[in-house]
Each structure stands twice: as C-alpha cells, then as structure tokens.
C-alpha cells in the first residue's frame, strides 16, 4: 500500500524554489546595483543592462564575432590539454624516480612564482607565431599546477588497494586502467576545474598583449573605444564558457563518481 503524505510534494517544490532563489539572489542584487548606477553615471562607465544584453546577444549571433570566442575557447582547451599531458607524464616520471622528482620539483616551483604577464612578455620576445605564442603561455602557466596535482594524486593512492591489484600480477596497462586511473580521476577532475578558471584569466592577458584576435584582443578594442557594454559582453562570453565547462565536468563527475557514499547529514 502506498502512503501519500499530503503536502510532501508541495514542501519539495518549496525547498527547490528556495534553493533557486538563494542561488539567484546575489546576481539579482548585483544587477540591480549596476542598473541603479547606470541611471546616475555616464553610459561609458555604467551602461544599462539592456545594452549589455543586446551586445552579448550580438556576439552570440554574429558568426565573425562568435568565431573570436571560439578561438579563445580553443586556445584555452589546447593549452590546458597540452599542460595536462606534459604535466601527467612528468608527474609519473617524478613518482617513479626520486632523482627526477628532485630535479623537476624546484624548477616547477620556480615557474609557479613567475607571473603570467612575464611569460607573455617572454613569449612575445621568443616566438613569432601568435598561436604557438599563446599555446606556450597557456602550457607554461598551467604546467606546474597540473604536475603537482597529478603527482599528489599518485602519491595519495591507497597502498593497500594498489598491492591488492598488484597481487593479481597485472600488466602495466591493466594496472593503470584498473587501479591508477580510477584512483586519481577525482583529483584530475578537480585539477581541471581549478585550472579552467585560471586559464580563462591567463588567456585574456595573453591575447590582450600578444594576439590579433580572440576575447582578450576584443577587450583591448573595447577599451580603446571606451565601450563598457562591449567590454562586459566580451567578458561574459568567457564567464559563460567557464560556467558551461564547469557544469559539464560536474555532470561527468556525477556519472563517473556515482559509487561515492553520501552522508545523510551534511558537514
């Protein structure tokens, strides 16, 4: 027999609405403040939100402009993929050999201390090709983080589980597929989430100074024309990209990590 609890579905809807309101409230407040400011300040400082909206829509719907957004997204993904592949390979080597670890760890730490803007300057001096220049900047700025994150994930792998799988005497490839990859995947996902945000900031700097296209370059154009609505609209493109990519990662995580236990009580 099914027991129907009156009001249960109503309370569930109420809870969802409250959750949605909590999520949206800060953005509504921010937009309201902006809109009020636009009434008192000149347009080139605080343009009305409607202007920003139409400008954003225009970038979305006008192919030559949207192609600039895609170029930037491509640069972010290519740079991150390059940094991840090199970083993961380096992390495996550092895990396997103490000598390699001792050699590369200080270099990577040193690289972490170099500002992204310095790498942009170095890249402009060293390389002619725009795409390679940006790829280099993206890789070199994301490499230390990826390497250390993958290295930590490898080091944090359960020795007990590793030995258990080892007891079946697997080949290297099988050990990697059955044990290493699933064990480090949560940390890799986190590394991608963190580095995506960082990379979307670095790419703008790289394009601003060292490119003739992309969101960063377009931002430079808006600044020269004192077009605040345009600057905001181009910025929002990157924000959307980060939000969408984070959402995609979250969906992948929900599917791949469904084995995780959840406590009924939150922290």
């Amino acid at each position: 027999m099914t027991t129907v609890v009156p009001g249960a579905s109503v309370s569930a809807i109420g809870s969802r609405l409250r959750h949605f309101a909590e999520l949206v409230a800060p953005f509504v407040a921010l937009a309201a403040v902006w809109q009020i400011a636009s009434a008192y300040f000149p347009k080139y400082l605080f343009p009305p939100l409607l202007d920003v909206f139409w400008r954003t829509l225009e970038i979305f719907t006008d192919w030559p402009q949207f192609a600039q957004v895609l170029a930037t997204v491509g640069r972010i993904l290519a740079g991150l993929a390059g940094a991840f592949l090199i970083g993961a390979a380096l992390a495996i080597l550092m895990m396997r050999s103490r000598a390699v670890d001792r050699f590369f760890a200080p270099i990577l730490t040193f690289f972490q201390g170099v500002p992204a803007l310095s790498w942009v300057v170095f890249a402009i001096i060293w390389f002619h090709g725009i795409e390679f220049r940006i790829f280099f900047i993206m890789v070199v700025t994301s490499l230390p983080a990826f390497t250390f994150q993958v290295l930590d994930a490898l080091r944090g792998m359960s020795k007990d589980l590793f030995e258990m799988v080892l007891s079946f005497r697997p080949t290297r490839a099988k050990m990697f597929r059955a044990m290493v990859l699933p064990a480090i995947l949560p940390d890799i996902m986190t590394a991608w989430k963190v580095n995506l945000g960082n990379a979307s900031r670095v790419v703008v700097v790289a394009e601003l100074v060292g490119a003739t296209g992309g969101v960063g370059y377009e931002l430079l154009m808006q600044q020269q024309q004192f077009d605040m609505a345009g600057a905001l609209a181009w910025t929002l493109q990157l924000v959307f990209f980060v939000l969408v990519s984070q959402q995609i990662i979250a969906l992948i995580e929900a599917r791949v990590f469904r084995y995780r236990a959840f406590s009924e009580r939150s922290m």
């Binding site: 007990d160 030995e163 007891s167 079946f168 005497r169 099988k174 059955a178 084995y259």
Partner: protein, 254 residues
Amino acid sequence: MSGQAGAAEIVLDHVSKAFGRADSAEAFRAVDDLSLAIAPGELVAILGKTGCGKSTIFNMIAGLGAPTEGSVLVQGYDPFRSFDALRGKIAIVFQSDRLLPWRTAIGNVELGLDMLDVPREERRKIAQLWLSRLGLSGHERDYPHALSGGMRQRVSIARAFATDANILLCDEPFSALDEITAQRLREEFVALVRLNRKTGVFITHSINEALQVGDRIVVLRRPARVAYDVRITRDGMADEQKTIRKRIEKILTE
C-alpha cells in the same frame, strides 16, 4: 625442514628478512633462518603473536617482498623475481576486504579474471557464480559502501576464488569481523578450500582460528622462526587438540 619438501608447492629455504640497512645497527630482523615446505592441497595455519613476522612471510610468498637471505619458491618460481610467471596461480584474501570503491560487487570479483584476460561474458558468469556461492545474489550491482563488513569480506573471498588459483594466501581475513560472522565465514572458507583442492596459507594470531582452519599449524616465535609444526587430524580425538592447544599456548606465552 618440515612438510613434504619433495612435492612441495611452497618452499621457504633458510629465509631471513631484515629491514633497514643490513650492516647498520638499526636493521630489524623480522624473519630469521626460516625453513618451511607446504605440500599441494595443504591448508597451513601460520600462527604467531602480533609483530612476529607473519605478514613479512606472507608478503614474501605473495611476491610483494624479497628475502634478504635464503630463497622462496612457489611452484618452482621465485615469486618476487619471476613475478609475472605466477600470474593466475596465487590469490590473496587480505586482512581488510580491499575492495575497489569504484567497482560494484561483481566488478570487484571480476578484477582478477580481467587481469587474466578472461573474456567479458565468461568473467561475468564466473563472478556471478562465486557471488551466489557466497550468498551474495542480488547484491551484484551494489557498491562496496552499500555492503556490510561481512558481505564485503565475502566479496573479497569470491574475488580470490574466482581466479581459480591453486594457491590461496590469507592474511587474518576475518579478524575485523564480529565473532559470529567470522565463525560462519571461516567454516565456508575451509569448506571451499577443501572442495576446490586449494593449497592454503592462513595467517592468524588466534589459536582457535588456527585449530579450526588448518590441517597443519606452524607456530612462529619472534623473529619469525618455526617453534612448533604440527598436523591436525580432523577426525582426531578432542584430547589431541587439547594437547596441541596447551603446547601452542605455552610457546606463545614464553
């Protein structure tokens, strides 16, 4: 050397194991000149107090560690140096269940078969069979966190048996379970070992468990060295078991 050395499946010949640099004063000798031969089909309980080197011996037989001196042979192979030669020939039940949290119960049982390149359909069938033999039908798709401690240990036993390895190594597999569950699993385990004619090495610190499981008991004294090696006749007199128990108790309290 005890046992039937000629037909032995596992041979430890004057094995010593020291941790730390052998020439330094801090070197810790966990195993000292241990010799032991285990015949095919024997289920040997290796009994000793905590820290007497049981797990070190276990690791050396499993090929997870190498002796400092002497030699270890499993089916004629050095399990450490010829690691791959023993693929599919040794299965281990660990102290904790060591289930992969990202695999379901059936996925965990399939693990060893996967390592042996058994085709997907066949390994699923075998895993299913072993899960049902161990009373876990209906839990195939459950992840480890959804299973009780006893159920998880059953899955790990199923995982070990599924590969059909000739040699089963068990490192205090029931020590983390409550006594009633442990007792039941122990009985099931011994029955499965005998039915499938496996050679078993069962590490334990419990005299009761050793008497219940082993058809031979090897008592170790620290640093691991054989202090007593006795065969148990299952249909033997209760008096015989009592005498053996007293002797073991005396050795362990010395």
